[in-house]
């Protein structure tokens, strides 16, 4: 890679932590950062279900490592569509968090859905989130995407090839008026497979990620992006194909 040109970075924009009720308890901040580094990832985005309370600890755990951690959340809309919201900083994410919590009802049942521990960068349990994070918010899809954009974030439709909790599964097709910044294809299908299955979506950028709920899944898939350096702003440029940044689809 030249000094002036972009280089290829490996990005996994959909990683859960132990805070997600379905996330493995081994997915605590230090462990998942260590694994991401070991797997040669350059960027990960932390996207727990309807919550972001482990994000600051993952970011702290990544200090002093080459890994860039993007603050994010996987929000479940009123239609039960999963959308990834990614931000450049934690303050923007916390605005979305307030909006999500104001529209999320119910309490978690650990026996039914799993524990929701908030764990710091030293692996110590700070507390437990008591909300029903696995539930759907009352937020309409359109409102969520416009709120993510209002706060400066990127809105990515999650795992669109999956039958459940995807925009296509729930709503039959991608509503053309909803300005998604990208569509995520699950690791099993991959970007190339996604292009073959969804020729009508050729106008959207595709990303693929591991949607890791277990530590050994973190390196299972990634999107290769040509960036100047690993950071949120560069990822946003790559999704738009701006100024020499792009998503490498053929790899």
């Amino acid at each position: 890679m030249g000094e002036s040109g972009p280089g290829i970075f490996r990005c996994n924009l959909h990683v859960h932590t132990c805070l997600s009720p379905c996330g493995d308890l081994d997915m605590h901040p230090r462990a998942l950062v260590d694994e991401a580094v070991a797997q040669g990832l350059d960027i990960i985005a932390i996207c727990d279900h309807n919550s972001s309370e482990n994000v600051p600890y993952v970011m702290r755990a990544a200090r002093g490592t080459p890994l860039c951690v993007i603050p994010g959340m996987e929000v479940c809309t009123r239609e039960e569509v999963h959308v990834l919201a990614l931000f450049g900083d934690q303050a923007q994410l916390s605005l979305l968090q307030d909006y999500v919590y104001a529209n999320l009802q119910g309490l978690n049942d650990e026996d039914a859905f799993g524990m929701q521990p908030i764990v710091n960068e030293a692996g110590e349990v700070e507390g437990f989130n008591e909300r029903l994070l696995i539930g759907a918010t009352g937020i309409p899809l359109e409102d969520l995407v416009s709120r993510i954009h209002e706060y400066g974030g990127l809105a990515i439709a999650a795992h669109i090839d999956r039958p459940s909790f995807s925009v296509i599964g729930q709503l039959g097709f991608i509503p053309p008026h909803v300005p998604f910044d990208a569509l995520e294809i699950s690791a099993r299908l991959g970007i190339k497979g996604g292009r073959e299955r969804f020729p009508e979506l050729s106008g959207y950028p595709f990303v693929t990620s591991s949607d890791a709920h277990f530590i050994h899944d973190i390196g299972a898939a990634c999107t290769r992006m040509a960036l100047q350096k690993p950071c949120f702003a560069e990822v946003a440029m790559a999704l738009k194909g701006e100024d020499g940044r792009y998503i490498e689809e053929d790899a």
């Binding site: 009123r78 899809l141 039958p163 599964g169 729930q170 709503l171 039959g172």
Partner: protein, 113 residues
């Protein structure tokens, strides 16, 4: 059975396209909230019972040639949904009943017709 007879028998509240109720024939029914499933498995002339209120339900009903849509559990369709249904001529009816109850009653009505 026409849609008007069915709507009156079940006490459904019509939110748009009233003028079509009398002339729309109900041939069968389908229930579902996964629109991909409804697109794949429902038939023309079906009355579709759902809890989804997103405007995509109108596109699916229109594509499949459904007789109309019943939204259950007291949910109200978005304004965009009603506007689009009005434009595309898809009757939308609402009820406080659960999907289970509505489907049971419609099934019985259609079986007896």
């Amino acid at each position: 059975m026409n849609l008007e007879t069915l709507a009156e028998a079940l006490g459904l509240k019509c939110k748009c396209c009233w003028e079509k109720l009398k002339t729309t024939e109900v041939k069968g029914g389908y229930a579902g909230d996964l629109l991909s499933d409804v697109m794949a498995n429902s038939n023309a002339g079906d009355i579709w019972v759902t809890r989804q209120v997103h405007q995509n339900i109108v596109a699916v009903a229109s594509l499949k040639g459904h007789a109309g849509i019943v939204i259950v559990q007291g949910a109200s369709p978005d304004k965009d949904t009603l506007d689009r249904a009005g434009r595309e001529g898809i009757p939308i009816m609402v009820t406080d009943m659960s999907k289970f109850e509505v489907v049971g009653k419609i099934y019985q009505l259609l079986s007896e017709a």
